[in-house]
């Protein structure tokens, strides 16, 4: 995949950067040089690896290791928020002052 000057100009606009013609020629060449190196990643067999997981999860986890032993004070049991379901919708407890019949 190589980037031409027009495409580079579009990227520059997205990045809120402005280049004159000479600068655009130079940065397009540099972009393509780095991207061609990045292309080597394509040889990896990565199809079965999820990419949207937290990359720092697991052994390197910084935040959820020992801290996970203490329940989050803000955490609520799902059953508490949605105790029942009807016709594909959650049935939630009525708000204070509102009668369940009226809510129908």
């Amino acid at each position: 995949m190589s980037v031409d000057k027009d495409h580079a100009a579009t990227i520059a606009s997205l990045a809120r950067l402005r280049f004159d013609d000479d600068e655009l020629t130079k940065i397009t060449a540099e972009l393509n040089q780095v991207l061609s190196h990045v292309e080597t990643l394509k040889g990896l067999e990565v199809d079965d690896i999820p990419h949207d997981e937290d990359p720092l999860e697991g052994e390197g986890d910084a935040t959820r290791g020992e801290a996970a032993d203490t329940p989050d004070a803000l955490r609520r049991d799902l059953d508490e928020l949605a105790p029942d379901a009807l016709d594909g919708f959650f049935v939630v407890p009525p708000l204070p002052g509102m009668h369940a019949e009226e809510a129908d």
Partner: protein
Amino acid sequence: MSSGDGLAAARAAVAAIQDLESGPEALNAFLAVADVDELTLLNADGPLAGVPLAVKDNIATLDLDTTCGSKVLEGYRSPFEATVVRRAREAGAVVVGKTNMDEFAMGSSTENSAYGPVLNPHDRTRVPGGSSGGSAAAVAAGLVTMAFGSDTGGSVRQPAALCGVVGMKPTYGRVSRYGLVAYASSLDQVGTFGRSVADSARLMDVIAGHDDRDATSARRLVPDLEAAAGRGVEGLVVGLPKEYVSRLLDDDMRASINTAVDALRDAGAQIHEVSLPHAKHAIPCYYVIAPAEAASNLSRYDGVRYGVRRPGDDLVSMYEATRSAGLGPEVKLRIMLGTYVLSAGYYDEYYGTAQRARRLITEDFGRVFAAGVDVILTPTTPGPAFELGERTDDPLEMYLSDVFTVPANIAGIPGISVPIGRVRGLPVGAQILAPWWQEERMVAGAGALEAAFGVGGA
């Protein structure tokens, strides 16, 4: 304490910095130097009492500007102070100046600073490494005892190696990033420089630990790294990755790393060859993930809230004028790269693939450590300091300066560089990598190498 008020060493440091930096041997290591009358000692009995400390210019300080080596933040004074600076001051350290760096920590030679390059104190025709080149040079020249840097792809370990000092990057999450100006948030960590392993470890001991102001800082017990420096390596299992030693090393460098292997073996360590088959993908992986995060993090420099502003006909043209005038070429290249790899149609092809590669690189380390390897030994750099200007026209060649240091950031594991003598008359370092949260092991290994080669690898 040699002075009644405990500030004697810091005053001497300020005088030495001013003296060196105004003379013919100037290193350009400092962007700001503290006023000698405004030096403050918060704790005369702390573990760092009176120690002159230099702070990389992307770490926020209340009393000195924080420019990140960029014109876009010229004259910027932070309204708050980084947690690492606060903790160091509370332990008695005295901040004597802010150090020069590659703009927004993007570089491997400190030649990308908007305020001119830093020179290597061992040979002023050569680079000090980067991006924390000012901090490494300041410690190497004896101007300060300790310094802070930041390490996103090797920016503490690589300049430490090229300047002949010790530089340490902790496990991701060991140290608060509050007040560290963000470059690539999933990779950035504050690191410490010292002349000796014990100095670097003492500073790390002071700043490590959870901080309510950084949700990625871990609630973990902080080890005593300074004590670990003298522990020795009897029985320590050291892995030597075959992929690292065979690639990119010239004969002199290979001979040098072999002397480090021999030193550890003589001190009682067991050496085993290990394999990190995906490590070769670390540089391309890094140059997708880091620019992607940078493109987002640096969008804030638009002339509205920070630093300089250039006028424009409307809001967008003001943004563009400000960013085009305020940011340097390497920063623009990385913002362009990051914007491209995150753009519609290319996101999965580049960013998604890089995230998957990150997983494979991380799993390599996990597998090696799970097999019983305590630490991994590598060269810190492919060779000694290169000449100023030698790699500035070739971004890819510059990126490859960090080939041995980047994998640790990708995986989030800790690493330390320690001097192991000289190659062609210039200092080089060995890098020791440890499993997540096991910094004590790498510091013990570094201590053993220091015992064998001498402080500074002399």
